[in-house]
Amino acid sequence: MIFHSLDFVVFFVVVVSIYWRLPQRGQNVLLLVASYVFYGYVHPWFLILIASSTVIDYLSARGMERWPAHRRRFMALSIASNFGMLGFFKYFNFFADNVQAVLAAAGVHVSPPVLRVILPVGISFYTFQAMSYTVDVFRGELRARRSLLDVAVFISFFPHLVAGPIQRASFLLPQVEAERRFSIPFATSGLSLMVWGFFKKLVIADNVGVIANKVFGLRDPSFEILWAGVFAFAIQIYADFSAYTDIARGSSRWLGFELTENFDHPYMARTPADFWRRWNISLSTWFRDYVYIPLGGSRAAGGVWARNILVTFLLSGLWHGASWNYVLWGAYHGVLLLATRAHQMLGPPPPHLRASRFGGQAAARMVVVAQITGMFALTLIGWLLFRETELHAIVRHLQLVPWHSTPEDRQIGLYLFLLAFGYSIPLWAQSIWVELRRGQPVRQEESWTRAGLRALAYGAAFAAILVLRSRTSLDFIYFQF
């Protein structure tokens, strides 16, 4: 089921209406049933996978606690089952194609079997979430749960099931186990997130996505047209993915749950490390805690540290998809981090960034703006690698120069850029507003003026959805991962 469908609206209203009439255990049963309906709505056979993953991880965690001497075996079972499923469904064809290519280069021609099934939606997200549970139990940071129901709800909780944010067991499981009470301020803020999320998806992401798709469908883009398309894609992927997160967080609040933030205005980042503290936070912290730090993190000697960074980012790139361009994208960001010697990668932000405001002298402001612009330009190069799946096309695109473009192509590039920029103004306005106010105290009590402005914004967003929603409805980008 997808968020921007009437089916979801009806489903969600029904679930919320029943949910608050039930006791805590009944709520969890309802959440599990609802989550399985949500996930198996189009392809019921996907449920076999998530149910298997849940049962295996539940038993593995219980086994670790009951038989501590064999905890490594149980951990291995959990890893093998989760990564086995992920590897089989997501990477089998990629692996087979590459083996075939390598053998063909050596003069051996084989036809490896091809897996002709659809990649189960969200498998990368829920396997990582399930893994966080067993790893935390293995490390002794979390006790194994006795209730299979609670673990199953934790893994399958529908608002964030197919595209995150990936939740840690230590954060979400206690919420699953606790009594939940309906809170009006919580519901109001949830409604805010949902309205903003739908606006970002239907008005911004889907409209600029059409521009990006058109440009990346061209055989012979010019420099200006290509980068206008990359800019459009940068807006699309941020608006699209953060929209999913907002709708997930908003709908969770209506069920009494809080999910972690996944985006913190990433295009306001000033350094690569800063970017990764703001982009897909739940995934980057997952890789930090379960890959980077176990490898030795930043405390390792220079060469080892560099290796740790690269390994982490290569895996992060590969997580996104079974294609070399994602690996390249991961490597690019790893190299960026190494080049800027961001020692505090994925750690707490340094003080000068934590208070990143535009206040102060004009010169200081200019520096900040230059840093943000420079980092955004670097990010765009990354998005080119991410969006363009053909390696030879990436090379061709990077060789494009503005002085070879025709005047007409320059005008078309400018037109596309302005069009994408126009749609993205609300995103930029929100990010700049948040950056300017960062560090300022948040008012606890909401005034009527603020409530009125919010009501106005809701209405404007809904009106915009009615008249500006794209005629081309695109799936959420991160569904494919």
Binding site: H43, V114, I118, K214, L218, Q411, W448, A455, G459, A463
Partner: protein
């Protein structure tokens, strides 16, 4: 939370909900800024309200009657990039009438069959309708731009309207159009959407003529000649939702096409084109899609028509393709010759 703050929070929530639902009513005022002249009742009232329309093109059935073609080809760019009428006519030795419209959908195909072909009174050897996967049971496919149906539609199209109503009876369309009607969104969208999408061109070219020339140049820049081969990666995920023959056939125009063709004594041949091969292999087909095609074949053949399925044809290799599922110029020639030969064997 204290009672006072609880009540305050509740009021804020209600205010938000009121803003959400009431402020868009301003769109009714926005719709009135640019009222639409020459409104006429739509022939698809279940889909839309009154609007301007392009007149029915009565010259088309007259032309067909004069031409008396042996073969009629109906379809969108899938047919257009596969069938070269001149090559088909030469290879088959028969006259061919192509009735093609890039970007058209099954509603247009049905209207063309009924109002142009059957109305012309001709009796060709076969009428071919080209389609992809589940197009034939998805009447909503490309129906949004209803103006594109105008030249093939009469003043009333009750049968088509009925299937559209049944199909969009799938709540989604009813709710969406109820909202659109309530807020006057369709009328407001008619001028707000172009205004938003054309603002950069208005800034760059303040005068109308150069602006229109520029917009034509933009369209040409993204025309077929500039596109590159693309993996039809959207194939499965999108199609599977539609790959339920039993659920959708009675909510589609397919039974109407078969009925009208049978009554008119026409031999209808539905041609499922092969989508773009991937990795040197025929395109993947989900189990649901395979089942759908089996059911489609059985239904079509049970109603006196023929289904030709290109999928899996080893001769239709990737080399024939240009972009997406379209064939290249050379691929079109090769395909047309193969098709003519196939037709010669199947329809002697």
């Amino acid at each position: 939370m204290t009672t006072a703050s609880g009540i305050r929070s509740l009021r804020h929530l209600l205010l938000s909900a009121a803003g959400l639902l009431l402020i868009p009513l301003a769109l009714r005022g926005a719709a009135a800024i640019h009222p639409i002249p020459n409104l006429q009742p739509s022939y698809l009232p279940s889909l839309e309200g009154p609007r301007e329309r392009v007149p029915f093109d009565a010259s088309r059935p007259a032309e067909l009657a004069r031409m008396q073609p042996a073969f009629v080809v109906i379809g969108d760019s899938m047919a257009g990039s596969r069938i070269d009428p001149a090559v088909f006519a030469r290879t088959s030795g028969q006259s061919v009438a192509p009735l093609l419209y890039a970007g058209s959908g099954p509603a247009w195909w049905y209207l063309v069959l009924k109002n142009w072909v059957i109305a012309s009174g001709i009796h060709p050897k076969a009428v071919f309708v080209f389609f992809r996967d589940t197009n034939l049971t998805n009447v909503m496919f490309r129906i949004d731009a209803t103006w594109s149906l105008d030249t093939a539609a009469l003043a009333r199209e009750d049968d088509l309207n009925a299937v559209v109503a049944r199909r969009k009876g799938s709540a989604f369309y009813q709710v969406r159009s109820a909202f659109d009607r309530l807020y006057g969104a369709t009328e407001a969208r008619r001028w707000i959407e172009p205004a938003v999408n054309e603002w950069p061109a208005r800034v760059m070219f303040p005068y109308r003529k150069p602006r229109e020339a520029f917009m034509r140049a933009v369209n040409d820049r993204f025309g077929l000649d500039h596109l590159r081969p693309m993996d039809a990666a959207d194939m499965q995920a999108t199609e599977d939702r539609e790959a339920d023959f039993g659920a959708f056939v009675d909510k589609s125009q397919l039974p109407l096409m078969l009925r009208d063709a049978q009554r008119a004594g026409l031999r209808l041949v539905l041609v499922r084109v092969q989508r773009r091969p991937i990795g040197g292999r025929p395109p993947d087909q989900s189990p649901a899609l395979q089942r759908y095609i089996r059911e489609l074949r059985s239904y079509v053949e049970g109603h006196g028509a023929l289904l030709l399925d290109d999928t899996g044809d080893p001769a239709q290799t990737l080399e024939l393709y240009e972009d997406g599922d379209h064939l290249s110029r050379e691929g079109r020639r090769v395909y047309t010759e193969m098709f003519a030969e196939r037709i010669r064997l199947r329809l002697p």
